[in-house]
């Protein structure tokens, strides 16, 4: 029967010594293991629910398939596979021998480790040993020659050029680990070979490798006697190495063999998308290593320094002081040796994280780095140690419920520019509740996307509504910043709002809101990303593509949509449906590279001079072969990448657009405001043109020159551009505009309530004007200043006119002053002001179809009022303080064909005959004149001191009659001048002229000549 002797020529003392060493080795392993277990047991609870059964099953799968190891690094996967299965087989083999020799034989006297089983065993062991050696050699080669950045422990991201001291020890440990295993395997084969030389068994015990080695050694001159000596010595070498290895497992890098199994078994696929809550009595955050949970400690031990996280991290890649690998390794040292957490992990390191989850995603042993970072951030936030800007943002989120610091009521303001009302989901049931999120609500660029999405939904007939000011920041980033308290209050508020509304499902354009509502809000709700909804709408035909785009595009997977919520296909389905050719970036889907905005980083400006993650991404996209559009489906992405495209120098390469904008183009969305689509189309065309000029033309020229052809004298015109397909075809303008000059006529107003005229009646036209605040901007359509930047009030020039009218009727002892304004309901506040100051009655004229209000159109309307009121006198202020218009009175006089005088500073009239007036002309010259009644006068500022309204007058004004004339018919041909656009004039720059007096004089002279055109 084939077998082999375990203790060949051993004295019983030697056998005893071996058993003592063996037990010591295994004891060292056990003690180390128990020590770790005790540490874990003392640590804080995990804080997340653990499904042990599923966890073990998945872990077993991970181990058998090595899928987590082979991912994105097949070489390392293959090498580890060889080591793992080789080692495991050898381990099982040794255990089999122990079972046979130390248990079965002493107990039963039987042995199975012989004969064919033994021969088969031998062969398997030989192959396993070979696998182990092969794997180890691959690994050693990789470390020695591949020069992989992920295996470099230098912290270049923080400027280190040398290894930190602890890392030097790591490098030694890495090599010792590989070397020791290698020696064990080799000495095993040497043992085999010397045994074969000495014993010369039949079939060489089916040990091909051992046999080959034996042959080689014999050929090298090893005789039987020599082999016996080697066999004796090597037995101890092999045995002691193996037992030392076992003993060292729990104390060195080897502990990953156990810890990784545990770590994989308790792996939480949602660790980053659903952060652990702060327990009732637990500290708010982690301030010392003792505050970590046992899962955290297990993660520290499981880390094998493979560096995949280091490689994937967007912060590390762009030079921020964070490497997830180094963070975990530092924490492991702390957990083992103690020390100050605050001194080891710098606050800047923690703030560098964007919680994109790339590290946790790729970690082969299931370490959840971002969770630890957020835990430590919570402590920083608790102590208030954060960037003041961030603090400000959190404060404004706390105060007004959004990170923009805008009043809460303005959250729904973006809907005002839509052609249709958007439902308020708090007031009526809807199918889809749209949770808009901060960026999509307040950021002007994202607002245009929001409006496009709204139009798409409406076109598809989707019944949707918003919470308007009921919505607050969802809190995803607030939570990732570490402000748990604020997050909880936001979640409570939004949950209450959601619970009060009736809807079937939630849709959002914001992956961050999606993540937190889906995963972190209490209760189950169906939350869908708009790409998902759009994909369904397109595929079911509720949205019909009428113009497939045929563009080459690339798609950026938002971290919070893709990696954190595993939605990769929806945006691609949309792009396919609208006929785009999707070119994937090297890093896509689960390997998508963060734009840099996550984890609250969008609120904290990156330090100037650093490369931003978004720039990195732009370079990546630009390296693709000629894409037209970089497609985003996250408001934060859009913001980051639109900025980055310009800042990273890829303006000419492609445009950044939201996926909804492409959909709108492809279905030829009819109701899109004209300024929306052409903008995108224009940008695409520009970018194409730039691309052509930059790339094609020089090549063509070069080619021509090479052929010796004289270039054309005129600069080479860029080849005709492909007509921007997306430009909506404008209705052809009428060939012959038929202009005819006709006098403006008074508008016709329907009767409104007013008293019969009994005495003198003076009309005073008053205007509700907007006064600009310190900070102002234009509306999205560019046609006016944003209403919220205007402080509306009664035109102060009109106050003088009103006072003049009041003094007139007071002097005459009777009569009526009627204040008239043209404007929507808002204007009534100014009308009331006029009433408070003494006007007897107010009239407001407004109708939705009125032309834009310029002085002529206003005069036509006032003339309509005059036709009904038949006043004896009409007064206006000399001008309006908003646009400095001063033509209304003149136009009104013209339309009514009444006498008119402007810039009147004094009025004397008895109410019957001609009135005497004094006008102020240029240079202080005064002009006295008389006019017959009725007349129109504009009263100059300073003609009198207007009275102020006492509180009584203000109160009484509330009861004064105010009629509203809404039925208005304009005479045909009444137009108003429309505003085509508003822009800020360029700011001039002062220039310091330097040099000698003569130089300066010459420069000044040339400037004067230049300016005067001499």
């Amino acid at each position: 029967m084939q077998t082999r002797e375990l203790f060949w020529q051993f004295s019983s003392l030697a056998v005893a010594i071996f058993y003592i060493v063996a037990v010591a080795g295994m004891a060292a392993f056990a003690v180390g293991l128990v020590r770790h277990v005790i540490r874990y047991r003392k640590a804080r609870p995990a804080g997340v629910a653990i499904d042990w059964r599923a966890g073990f099953a998945r872990m077993a799968g991970d181990l058998l398939t090595h899928r987590t190891l082979a991912r994105r690094d097949p070489y390392a996967g293959a090498a580890h596979r060889l080591i793992f299965f080789g080692f495991a087989t050898l381990f099982i083999g040794t255990a089999t021998i122990t079972l046979d020799y130390d248990i079965l034989r002493p107990v039963t006297g039987q042995s199975f480790w012989k004969g064919w089983f033994y021969l088969g065993f031998s062969l398997v062991m030989d192959v396993a040993g070979l696998m182990l050696i092969a794997g180890l050699v691959m690994m050693m080669a990789r470390r020695a020659w591949f020069g992989l950045a992920k295996l470099d422990y230098r912290r270049a991201y923080r400027g280190d050029t040398a290894l930190p001291p602890q890392a030097r020890a790591w490098r030694v440990e890495d090599w010792l680990f590989l070397g020791l295993l290698f020696l064990i395997a080799v000495s095993g084969f040497v043992q085999e070979a010397t045994r074969l030389i000495v014993d010369k068994p039949a079939l060489a015990d089916l040990s091909p490798v051992g046999e080959a080695l034996a042959v080689a050694l014999t050929a090298l001159g090893l005789d039987d006697a020599g082999a016996a000596v080697v066999r004796h010595v090597n037995w101890w070498v092999h045995g002691l190495l193996a037992l030392s290895f076992i003993g060292a497992v729990a104390w060195t890098k080897g502990k990953h063999m156990v810890a990784a199994i545990g770590s994989l078994a308790v792996r939480d696929a949602r660790s980053v998308s659903r952060l652990p809550a702060v327990g009732e009595d637990a500290p708010v955050g982690v301030t010392a290593v003792e505050d970590f949970s046992w899962r955290d400690l297990l993660h520290f031990d499981a880390c094998t320094k493979c560096g995949r996280c280091h490689e994937a991290c967007p912060a590390r890649t762009t030079g921020y002081p964070l490497s997830p690998r180094d963070l975990v390794l530092d924490l492991r040292l702390l957990a083992e040796k103690g020390g100050s957490l605050a001194e080891t992990i710098a606050a800047d390191t923690l703030w560098a994280c964007r919680t994109c989850g790339a590290c946790a995603e790729i970690c082969p042993v299931g370490v959840e780095h971002p969770v630890k970072i957020v835990k430590m951030r919570r402590a920083l936030v608790d102590k208030g140690e954060m960037d003041p800007i961030l603090r400000g943002v959190l404060e404004s989120v706390g105060k007004v419920g959004n990170s923009f610091g805008e009043p809460a009521r303005k959250r729904g303001a973006w809907t005002r520019d839509l052609e249709f009302p958007v439902k308020d989901a708090r007031k009526q049931p809807v199918e889809a509740l749209w949770f808009v999120g901060d960026f999509a609500s307040f950021d002007p660029r994202s607002q245009t996307v929001s409006r496009t999405v709204a139009r798409l939904f409406r076109t598809a007939g989707l019944d949707f509504g918003l919470l308007f000011e009921g919505e607050r920041t969802a809190g995803n980033d607030v939570r990732r910043v570490g402000e748990e308290g604020l997050f909880e209050s936001l979640a409570a508020h939004n949950t209450a709002q959601l619970d009060a509304a009736t809807f079937d499902w939630i849709v959002t354009t914001d992956p961050h809101s999606l993540n937190t509502i889906r995963n972190e809000y209490p209760g189950e709700r169906e939350v869908r990303h708009y790409t998902n909804v759009l994909a369904d709408l397109l595929e079911s035909g509720r949205l019909t593509v009428t113009r497939p785009l045929g563009r080459r595009v690339t798609l950026h997977d938002p971290c919070h949509l893709g990696r954190l919520n595993k939605e990769y296909d929806a945006p691609r389905r949309v792009l396919r449906a609208i006929g785009c050719d999707v070119v994937e970036m090297p890093r896509s889907r689960d390997n998508s590279f963060c734009c840099g905005a996550g984890g609250g980083r969008i609120w904290v400006p990156d330090p100037p001079g650093t490369e931003k993650p978004a720039h990195h991404r732009m370079h990546e996209a630009a390296a693709l072969d000629g894409i037209d559009v970089f497609v985003t489906c996250c408001p934060k992405d859009l913001t980051m990448f639109e900025d980055a495209r310009k800042a990273s120098g890829h303006e000419a390469d492609f445009v950044v657009a939201d996926i909804a904008e492409l959909v709108a183009e492809a279905i030829e969305l009819k109701i899109v405001a004209p300024e929306q689509l052409p903008a995108l189309a224009e940008r695409i065309a520009e970018s194409l043109a730039a691309k052509v000029t930059a790339r094609v033309v020089p090549d063509l020229l070069d080619a021509l020159l090479k052929q010796g052809v004289t270039p054309l004298p005129a600069p080479a015109a860029p080849p005709p551009l492909p007509a921007p397909e997306s430009t909506p075809t404008n209705p052809a303008p009428p060939a012959e505009p038929s202009f005819a000059i006709a006098p403006v006529k008074a508008a016709t107003l329907a009767e409104y309530e007013r008293p019969a005229k009994t005495g003198l009646r003076v009309l005073v036209a008053v205007k509700h004007v907007g006064k600009l605040g310190d900070d102002f901007g234009f509306r999205d359509d560019g046609l006016d200043v944003r209403a919220e930047d205007l402080d509306f009030q009664l035109n102060e020039f009109d106050e003088t006119a009103l006072e003049e009218a009041l003094r007139l009727v007071e002097k005459l002892g009777g009569g009526e002053v009627v204040a008239v304004t043209i404007g929507p309901e808002d204007a009534e506040s100014s009308l009331r002001r006029a009433l408070a100051k003494g006007a007897h009655r107010g009239v407001r004229v407004w109708s939705d179809g009125l032309p834009p209000s310029d002085p002529i159109a206003v005069a036509a309307l006032l003339a309509g009022v005059a036709a009904l009121e038949t006043p004896d006198l009409i007064l206006t202020g000399v001008q309006s303080s908003d646009f400095a218009n001063g033509a209304t009175a003149a136009a009104l006089g013209g339309i009514l064909r009444w006498p008119h005088a402007a810039v009147v500073v004094a009025l004397m009239w008895d109410g019957h005959g001609r009135m005497e007036i004094v006008r102020e002309l240029e240079g202080g010259v005064r002009h006295a004149a008389t006019l017959p009644a009725p007349a129109v006068l504009s009263i100059q500022a300073g003609a009198n001191v207007p009275r102020f309204a006492t509180m009584r007058m203000i109160k009484e004004a509330k009861a004064k009659p105010l009629a509203v004339a809404t039925e208005v018919r304009l005479a045909p041909g009444t137009f108003g001048a429309a505003v085509a656009g508003m822009a800020c004039p360029p700011v001039g720059q002062a220039v310091m002229i330097e040099g000698s007096a003569a130089d300066i004089a010459a420069t000044v002279a040339s400037i004067i000549r230049d300016k005067k055109g001499l």
Partner: protein
Amino acid sequence: MARDPKYDILFEPVKIGPKVSRNRFFQTSHCAGIGSERPGTQALFRGTKAEGGWGVVFTEFCSIHPESDEFPYTSARLWDEGDVRNLRPMCDEIHKHGSLAGVQLWYGGIHSPGLESREVPRSASCLPSNLLPARTMYASECDEDDIKAVINMYVLAAKRAQDAGFDLLEVTAGDSTFPVQFLERRYNKRKDKYGGSLENRVRVYLEIMEALKKACGDHCAITTRYELDTLQGPHGLQAKDEGIRVVELMHKAGVCDLWAVKIGDYEEWGEDAATSRFRKSGWMLPFVKETKSVVGDTPVVVNGRYTSPDDMVNVIRSGIADIIGAARPSIADPFLPNKIAEGRLDDVRECIGCNMCVSKFNQCGLLNCTQNATAMEEYRRGWHPEKFDKAEDPCAVLVVGGGPAGMECARVLGERGYDVHLCEAENELGGHLRNVIRYPRMNEWGRVITYRQIQLGKMKNVEVHLGVGRMSADDVLKYGADKVVIATGSRWVTNGMGAEGHSPIPGADASLPTCLTPEQILAGKPVPGERVVVLDGDGHFTGISMAELMADMGKKVVLVTNMSDPAEYSQFTMEIQNNKRLMHEKGITVMRNHWADSYEGGKLTLFHLYRHGWALLEPENGKLPRRESTDVVVLDCDALVLVTAREPVQDLYVELKQRRAEWEGNGLQAVYRVGDCHAPRQISNAIFDGHRLAREFDSPNPQYPLPWIRERQLWGADTVPVLGDGRPVVEV
């Protein structure tokens, strides 16, 4: 509005030893009258500053041991666990807002009156206190054991401070405290290793710093506040001599994490906390500018009553200091840093440098602030300087009078959402302050008006009507307001009535061309002749300002006062020395303890307050029971300026009260009065009055204050220590 990037530097974090301040705003320790005895007031008063953006917030001076007891002046104390318990809320409150808490460890030595503890302080030499010479205060002379014991007191107090949560432990070597008593030759007569050469005299200071560094230096920053120049010339520390050499020696020893430098010793405190009448912001810079070049990277704090961010940036950019220290600007506007950060410069409530704050402390009272009525009221009345409870049912309020009280009342009512009309007779806001700011050196007080004017202008629900003339009761009744606040102020009496005797001076009458009130002078009434007597029964700034104004007009001026010192209140505002220097320089003669008997034909008859005999005589009706004297002094004067007393302008209020029956018919529900027309007092009182009325406007009877939280020991509460506890041993 975003902040101008040029101010970004003010918001850079600064490393202070093991701590990091989030910005460069540093509230240096300042007295407030709260101490460890009022933990709630302390916590919220200091915490509000942290909330407003001050990166570092200190206590007041904090006694480390009962031997160093300044009672009845209120210091913080770290004598025992009880003090730790009472100061911890302040630290927590400051930390809540992300700022650092600091404590100034104080051992007064020779200057400790010990009126509560009755213990004997120790010092370098056994000498009488020069600061309070009349109180028979001596310190015992330290032998080497005593020095060790005192150092031990610092260490024990520092550990308590650390326990309470303080981040910065500051050894004060200012205000002539223990370390300075060793440093200055005039206090240090020793011949051992702690006396003689500068190296010997600085030894105690160094040993204290070293001991603290060793005991608490790992977790707390060990800092100092140091007077680089005592302003006593060669008799004391001089900035360019020993003053800076001490800094060099200390820096070489490497035991100091931050330098807060100042000038002036305890006697010249008024040069450290200088008023705007004498010093413009930044006055210390010539004395302290060398420090930074000596201490290198160690942060330096400099004070200078800075309220302008441009000035602050200049100080930092010019390399004089790293951190802007402030006491008074942080009281006037706890939110100064945040307002700069948010680009809201026009919302900053700038300190006017009136020293009303410290004057109240010097009267053993609680600090108050002219500009900020909520100072010290954060806890006990629950007032936040920037937040106001919205009125639930705002009504229409007419405020009559745009002086300090009326402006403040209208402002707070406006913030609370009332519809307010503020009607002012004149064409400008400010009331009597419009005159005050035209007195010599008083222009900075105008900030009281500008701040309120800007704030009122921003509120849509507040209308300010200027130049409406004096409103009659009819005007008010017809105005249509639901409630009316009368703030018509006060005027100087024209008949010489004053605190002395409370009766008019026969012959004094400001309708005469030779008799003038301050208002008349400012309104342009001519001052006849050469010889001017200013009769000052007010004692604050008006009398001395009139005297200075007259002297500047070339007059020969005599200032007569019934008090023991001219402008006696300035002993509290710490202007008294400079006031006296100024009068001496300008040739103004002072007569103290005199008052006027009569004035007639250019002759002012004065009597000495103590002219009658000291012995008491048999009481007899109609006679003074003393040996009566008719001694008088007669001054020839061409003009007599009457600064004797003020009277409220209250006719409108009185008439409205009398016509109460007409209120209802006119829709008027209530009439209140605030400020001087209620009782003529200091500007800070008028502003507080207006503020308080507005804060409590919806209470049942807002004319009278609601109760506030009184912090004192309630019977039955535990005491620390309890009787029978052992003395913490400091002797080695």
